[in-house]
Point group: C2
Chain length 397, copies 2
């Protein structure tokens, strides 16, 4: 919990100000503040935004810092899942080392909060969770990591996985994950009953991967909503991807959005350019909480994603055809405030009283900085410097 | 026309080789070549690819190097067109200066060939063409620029434009452009008859912007094919964007692709993430010539595009869900050979006898270099160094 006087920054691209930080919180924002004896950082006129929020990723999957992974699999979901499970051992993917590399790259790029899924399966047990818990402890005070126990290989189709998820929740996972109840487990009722029962028993939230498109996804979404309602889990369920919300059937989608808003189910998007995706403006207008993530970064699934939420804001903007400056700001807000609201981060923001989680961007206007994926000049977590010039102060292993 | 010994490069990511260049052409590729007296460049083990081909852009539109342009227009096509025409004067967009900035950025990023549309309209006459012709002359020997005389504001709906296109073709434009015959001119027969008549009279090719989606675009495409057939213009017509080829109606699209292949009509794509787009694998399988471009870069239309064909390969790959290494290579090939084939570039390639238009990328494998948007170590045009470390040797104005 740091005290710091941050001089000469422009909050959200506005007028130059100083930001006074006391005990890790923003105490005051204004011109020419004085705080004798406090350490001083000069922002050099950079733009200050609240810390970037990576709300959908997989810290246990990346091959960053290793040999180039030659992908010969393509894009079939089941093939990618099975390939990855086999590749973990073959590649020597150490979940602690790899999640450190990934998380530190995110810190370097201005991230202060992460929600990461972690694979739980009967081949690897809780190994990935243990690696990630080690990383969370090692980076405490530099980034907040929320962990979703994620049955990547399927839940009921691989007996023993429910028990492993149960153990993962006891050992520190924050949420229960799920995955395509129809497409992967081939048993939507069984899959969702199991997940909701785990969440209910442990008093934890849910974050379900739902790649199922169109009518199939809409059906699974209905089942999710029924269970949210029945168990009184309003405000504690999130659906990641939710491609079905990009379906062209307008009245049907309107009804889904209304039901999601009614049950306060949040949506997390990656803005996947090759899929129908939930449209940001439409979801915001429907009053839904919506955050974003880069998904897995440079892993056995996909080489293209980067550990950088400004790059993700660009992809979301391109996918949503957002061009005007106000719309660029909207794309950014999904990658900052949006994710924070989904994750129920307390004290998030750029006003006095908020935690001093800040990222400084070089650039003239906020929109320009976002469009450019501007250099990250400085990153603060609770007022403590965690990164300079795009590099985390802690070195990656 | 240079002589040069390029040492220690890896053609397409393969084994280390030297490349001997004589009179601007690749004379020999092999290990430990000797050429006493020739200037030598050390490639340092970088990957060599043929020069990147930017086959769909607008060099006359960028605001690069100027104040940030605050976009308040959004994404309506007619609104963006009218806004730009008005903004040119208000912003003081000098077409020569701006096209120099844009083209030199492309050279810095490894580009050796450009096809640029240039706005021809009754407000600005041939001003944009004149600026671009100046740039083409100034950069002769550094990059080849093909110019499309483009009726951006409409053709028949703004009387006098046909005559201006005619003058543009006399003054050095290489192709006739067109734009959404239904959507903009509201007169598909009139628009296409005028364009094809101009092309026929001047013996020049055609490149038509076709944003019209679905059935409307398919109708316009039919009219284009009819005229291509009637005038014997096989192999000399290209359609840019062609969003209608992304329609979900499979048999209808198959029929369109077969007709396009039959008339050898080429397709140029930007991989627009917010639109239905022609799918690369499908078009390649149908035997079509297909290239790519970044479209306008940082202009009054859209802030997101960058003057970088590796960035475009990424966007095309993301839009087409290309993940495997072989598919990454395919995305690159659309941005190199694909564009060269559309533009009928003679002597393009990385084999003895080809023009020495080369780009060196830092990276371990070709796929990694493309995924990373790797640093451009060195760029050669006809064996002459045009850029080092991402910067053109000629300074932008």
């Amino acid at each position: 919990m740091s005290d710091l006087l941050l001089r000469n920054v422009r909050p959200m691209g506005g007028a130059p100000s100083d930001i006074l930080i006391r005990a890790g919180r923003i105490a005051e924002i204004g011109p020419a503040l004085s705080a004798p004896g406090l350490p001083v950082e000069d922002g050099g006129g950079a733009i200050a935004i609240p810390g970037l929020v990576e709300a959908h990723t997989h810290l246990d999957k990346t091959v960053m810092g290793m040999d180039w992974y030659e992908n010969a699999v393509g894009a079939d979901l089941r093939a990618m899942i099975d390939n990855e499970r086999a590749a973990r051992a073959a590649l020597g993917l150490d979940p602690h080392r790899q999640s450190m590399r990934h998380a530190l790259a995110l810190i370097g790029a201005g991230t202060t909060h992460i929600r990461s899924h972690v694979d739980i399966d009967t081949d690897h047990g809780l190994d990935m969770l243990h690696g990630l818990l080690q990383t969370r402890a090692a980076l405490a005070g530099q980034v907040d990591i929320e962990i979703v126990a994620f049955p990547q290989s399927g839940l009921l189709c691989r007996p023993g996985t429910v028990e492993l998820l149960d153990a993962a929740l006891r050992e520190g996972a924050d949420l229960v994950g799920g995955l395509d109840p129809c497409g992967i487990d081939r048993d939507p009722k069984g899959h969702l009953d199991a997940i909701f029962a785990l969440a209910d028993r442990h008093g934890k939230g849910i974050d379900i991967h739902l790649h199922e498109p169109g009518d199939l996804g809409a059906f699974s979404l209905d089942l999710i909503l029924e269970r949210t309602r029945a168990l009184g889990m309003q405000g504690r369920v999130a659906v990641s991807h939710a491609f079905c919300l990009g379906m062209p059937d307008w009245p049907r989608t309107e009804a889904m959005l209304a039901a999601l808003a009614d049950q306060d189910v949040a949506i997390l998007t990656t803005g996947a350019p090759s899929r129908e995706v939930p449209q940001v403006k439409r979801l915001v207008a429907a009053g839904l909480r919506m955050g974003a993530g880069c998904d897995g970064v440079r892993d056995t699934w996909n080489p293209w994603n980067r550990p950088d939420m400004l790059d993700r804001a660009r992809i979301i903007a391109l996918r949503n055809n957002l061009r005007a400056d106000a719309d660029v700001d909207l794309a950014l807000s999904v990658c900052t405030t949006g994710g924070a609201v989904v994750m129920r981060v307390q004290g998030y923001g750029l006003t006095p009283g908020c935690t001093a989680d800040l990222t400084l961007l070089a650039g003239r206007t906020l929109a320009e900085a976002v469009v450019d994926g501007a250099p990250r000049v400085l990153v603060l977590k609770s007022g403590r410097v965690t990164a300079r010039h795009g590099q985390s102060l802690t070195k990656a292993p």
